[in-house]
Every structure is written in structure tokens, then in C-alpha cells.
Amino acid sequence: MSTLTQAGAPVSSEQGSPTGIPAVPLIDLQGLTVRFGHRDILSSLTASLRGRAIGLLGPNGAGKSTLINTLLGFHKPAAGSARVFGHEIGRDIKLIRGLVGYMPENDAFISKMNAVSFVQMMGELSGLPSSVALERAHEALFYVGLAEARYRKLGTYSLGMRQLAKLAQAIVHGPKLLILDEPTNGLDPSARQRMIRMIREIRDGQEMRIVLCSHLLRDVEDTCDEVLILKQGRIAHYSNLDEERRANKRFLELETYGANGDFTAAIEKLGCECAVAANRMKMVLADGIEARDIFKIAAEQQVRIRRMNFRRDTLEDIFLKAMES
């Protein structure tokens, strides 16, 4: 059984296990199926997500928002189950909602309220005492950068400011999990950069885990360490971006001039795996071997390296492969 804090959230990943992998998955899906009418919107999703920041990717209509809404208890599963922090969504939904901060995709505000009252009210609805909610509403609005505009009515806010106000209400009660549904929707490039920077800050602050739902690959790549790609309500691909990034650094592609069998043999002697085709080489670097070691051997054997690339599978590559599969 997992260790729970008073609020019901599992201890952080570092405390959870000596390997740094949380003892309890953040989100655990077991054959989750959600049906609207006769149509399966999510079909038998099974996954165990443990990352600090999890990206939900997929084309429009893939089921990303439906998955989030199901985790929040807005839709009932037709089959299977889902757990958040080890709590079953059907049974412990109030507990889960107490641990979650949610920033919805669409406009969501109360136009005649000012930002402070709005965020304070949302904090109070999450269970904060009134005075604490007021204090934290100010802090949250300062944190997201709406300090100067916090007494303005939300109806007068620009789209970017409304996004920030939504973020403020999502974090005011100190959730353990922050669910962001298309947080950069409609933002101009600089506002998008600010939003991404803030999400990264929150992620790196270790206090909150993040689920980010987006169809913008760049946003997910910039902020997430795990990605779940959905396609037509099914899991098309799961990827641990941290591991992918580490793995990418072990793959090298070389274009050489003057290389012969000795050069390949010398590299293989270092423990690297090589594949040679004409003057092109692909290799997997052994542990402890860096690119400079390859340069050294090339220098010793007077081999000219015309081009050296780390193989880089971008999230776009991963996404496109998943969509093609």
C-alpha cells in the first residue's frame, strides 16, 4: 500500500522509492472505455503514467479532453477503471478533485467578478478558509503575472489574461496534480513563452505533477517528460521523453572520408556497435564513450569526418510514427 499524506496524495517520487520512480502511478488506466451513445470515445485504454509532467497528445477528436474529463469524474467509464494517485475515480472522486487543479480548454470565468474574488471563491470552494483563500488568491495572481490587473473584472481581460486567471484558480488551493487542457490556446508567441516558462517552473518546483493536454507538439516537448499519444480513442504510443532524449545521445551518424576497416575496428574496440555503408557509419556509443573519443581515433588514423549527427527523434517524429502506425 502506498504512503499517503494527510491530503491523500502519495509522497513525492523521490520519497516514494529509492529509484526515484513513484510507488503509486500518477494515473493508472485499466481497460478504460468511455462511451457517448453508441460511440466509443475512449477504447480500452491501459497505461500507467508516473512522470512529473505528462503530455497528452493527439489530433482533434482523439479523446484527450475526454480522458481528462473522465479523470475528473465528468464522464462515467462504460468499462474498465482509472486511478489517480491510487484513488479509484468512481469511488473517491471527491478526494481526487481535492488533489487536482484544473485549467479547462474553453473560456471559463465569471465576467462580473474581479480576478481576486474569482480566485478566492474557487479557493474557498476547494476548502480553504476565507482569509487563507484571499491571501492565496493574491499570491496566485502575483505568481501568474496578473498582479496589476487583479482588481479588474474578468470580463474585461484579454484572452491571454483569462488563460492566466484560469491558471491562478487552478493552483490557488495548492493541488498535487495540475491538469492543463490546451493552456497555450489563443496566446501570442510571447504570452505562449511566458505560459510555457511558468509550467516548467511549476514542474521543476517538485510540488505539483502536471498533465498537459495539447495538440501542439512544441508545448509538450518543452514541458513534459512522458507522452501518451492518443488516436481515435486508443493509445497510439507511449513515450518517456527523458529516456528518448538520453537514448538519442547514444546514436551517432558519421560521414567520413578515408576510413577503412581499421577505423571501424578501432571504434568497435571501444565497445561501440557500428554499421557501415560506403562512407557512412551508424553507431551506438558504449557507456562512457563520447564523441570526442571518436574524433581522437579519426585523428590518429587520419580519417576526415565530414559530418557527425546525433540521431534525433523529435516528438514530431514520434507523433507522426504513432499516427502512421
Binding site: 451513445g37 471527491k94 481535492g98 471559463a108 462580473k112 496566485a140
Partner: protein, 285 residues
């Protein structure tokens, strides 16, 4: 408040009891409501009739005042008809107050997509409806059964224990008749505003349900020569129940039991509409 922290910090303090959360909504909604000077003014106006009734009770028991005009002491009687009249006037005012205040409670939340923000918290749809309807319930109580009971208490203090004991049922009738009216008005206002999601239209629709319903009902009665049209007339239904509660004779086309059932059906339909519309997201199947 001095705000100096720019870093996020988690909250580790105590939480308020879950059952009190609907009061948060009540508090904020009521505060928003009374920002309108017009509503505040009308709310004050609603106490004029109870004050008039109070004066009437005083006059009824002031022998010297009646003697000045040469009237016998029993010329003004305070009885069930008096309290029914009091409720009838306050009922109209309650309806107007609801038409003014009710639609603004729910429709802005739906129009601005705020419901997901409420329901992603440990806060249920039932608590939401309870929180919003309690604003109307308290507001309407303040102008119906609460002043009614105050008047009853004052009359009781003037008339003595015998009158009080004989007429104690009037106090019960005041409460029950008010609660019926409050329940209908609150549910109808909230259901209509949840349905159309537009404050002004919801207010107009509320008036339409009352007045067009009455007109439609009478038209059916007239054309088909039946009494069934009364079931479309919400005011008539409530009046039937009220006259029954206050034991006032009236030539009613339908029985009190039928009126009760019709009112319950109306309330059920409003609840069904609210359950359908007050959701974080509407699913289009």
C-alpha cells in the same frame, strides 16, 4: 495586504467542512446580487406592505383609535383572510423579485463556461444548485413567511393566548404556503436560466410562463369548456393550494390535491431540466 511572495507554495493547513461549501456560493452570489441598487431598492420596497399590515393590526387592537372614528372594536378582524391577503401581495412581490434576481444566478456561469471550474473541485452539482437556490430561498423568505410570522406573533401578543391557540394553524399555513411559492419560483427561475443561458431572456421567460400560462389555460377552459386548462396556470394552482391551506372558501375549478400534484410535477420538470443542464460539460451524442 502586503503581497511579497512570488513563488508557488503548497497548502498544508486545515480545510473547511465539506458540507459548508455550498454556503460559499450563497455568500458570493448574494453579495453580487446586492451590488445592484435597483434590486436593493425593490427589496426595501417589499417591506412596505408588511409594515402596512402591522399598522392594520395595531389599529384593529387600538380601541381608542377606532373610537375616534366611531367604529366598534370588532370592525377590523385579523383572521385567516387577513393573512391570505398578506401572502397574496407578498407573493406577487416575491415573483417580481425572483424575475429580477433569479436568472442572474445561474445563467452567467453557464454562458461563460464556469461550471467545469466548480465541478472539478470537491463540490457536487447538488451543492451548486443548493448554494444558488439558497440565495433565492433566503431572499424570498425574508419577504414572505418571516414577516408573516412576525405579524402573527404581534397579533398573538395583542389578542392573547386563546386566539393564539385557536389560530396557531395560520402560522403553519404561512410557512407552508411560502415554502411552496419559494420552491416553485426558485426552481423555475434557475431551470429557465440554465436552459436559455441568457439572463434577460430567462427573466422574460419566467414572466411568460406565469402570464402566458395563465392566458393559455383560460383559453383552453373557454374553448373546450373544461377545467383542465387550470393546470397550465401556475398562479391558479398555487392560489388553489393557498386557499385550501388558509381554509378560505373559493370557487375553484380543481381540487387542492390536484393542484398539489400539478405543482409537484412542475417542480419535478424544473429539477429534471436543472439536472440536464447543470453539468461540467454537455455531451452531444
Amino acid at each position: 495586504m502586503a503581497v511579497y511572495r512570488r513563488n508557488y507554495r503548497p497548502y498544508t493547513g486545515a480545510l473547511t467542512p465539506a458540507w459548508t461549501r455550498f454556503l460559499v456560493l450563497f455568500r458570493y452570489s448574494r453579495r453580487n446580487l446586492f451590488r445592484s441598487k435597483l434590486l436593493t431598492g425593490f427589496f426595501v420596497l417589499c417591506f412596505f406592505w408588511p409594515l402596512g399590515c402591522l399598522a392594520w393590526i395595531y389599529v384593529a387592537h387600538s380601541v381608542s383609535f377606532l373610537a375616534k372614528f366611531g367604529l366598534p372594536p370588532q370592525v377590523v378582524s385579523i383572521d385567516n383572510k387577513f393573512f391570505l391577503l398578506f401572502m397574496s401581495v407578498q407573493g406577487v412581490l416575491a415573483f417580481l423579485l425572483t424575475a429580477f434576481a433569479g436568472p442572474g444566478l445561474v445563467s452567467p456561469d453557464l454562458a461563460n463556461g464556469a461550471l467545469p471550474l466548480y465541478f472539478c473541485r470537491p463540490f457536487s452539482r447538488a451543492e451548486y444548485v443548493l448554494g444558488k437556490s439558497s440565495v433565492l430561498a433566503i431572499l424570498l423568505s425574508q419577504i414572505t413567511w418571516i414577516p408573516g410570522l412576525v405579524l402573527f406573533a404581534i397579533q398573538a401578543s395583542f389578542a392573547g393566548a386563546a386566539w393564539t391557540w385557536d389560530n396557531l394553524w395560520i402560522a403553519g399555513s404561512l410557512i407552508v404556503s411560502s415554502l411552496i411559492w419559494i420552491a416553485i419560483l426558485s426552481l423555475l427561475a434557475m431551470a429557465l436560466s440554465a436552459w436559455v443561458k441568457w439572463r434577460v431572456v430567462a427573466g422574460a421567460l419566467l414572466l411568460a410562463v406565469m402570464f402566458f400560462g395563465a392566458g393559455f389555460g383560460e383559453a383552453i377552459n373557454g374553448v373546450l369548456r373544461i377545467q383542465g386548462g387550470h393546470f397550465f396556470n401556475l398562479v391558479y394552482l398555487v392560489a388553489t393550494v393557498w386557499t385550501n391551506l388558509f381554509l378560505v372558501d373559493g370557487d375553484r375549478g380543481i381540487t387542492a390535491g390536484q393542484a398539489w400534484i400539478a405543482i409537484l410535477v412542475y417542480c419535478g420538470v424544473c429539477l429534471w431540466l436543472l439536472i440536464r443542464k447543470v453539468r461540467a460539460y454537455e455531451v452531444v451524442r
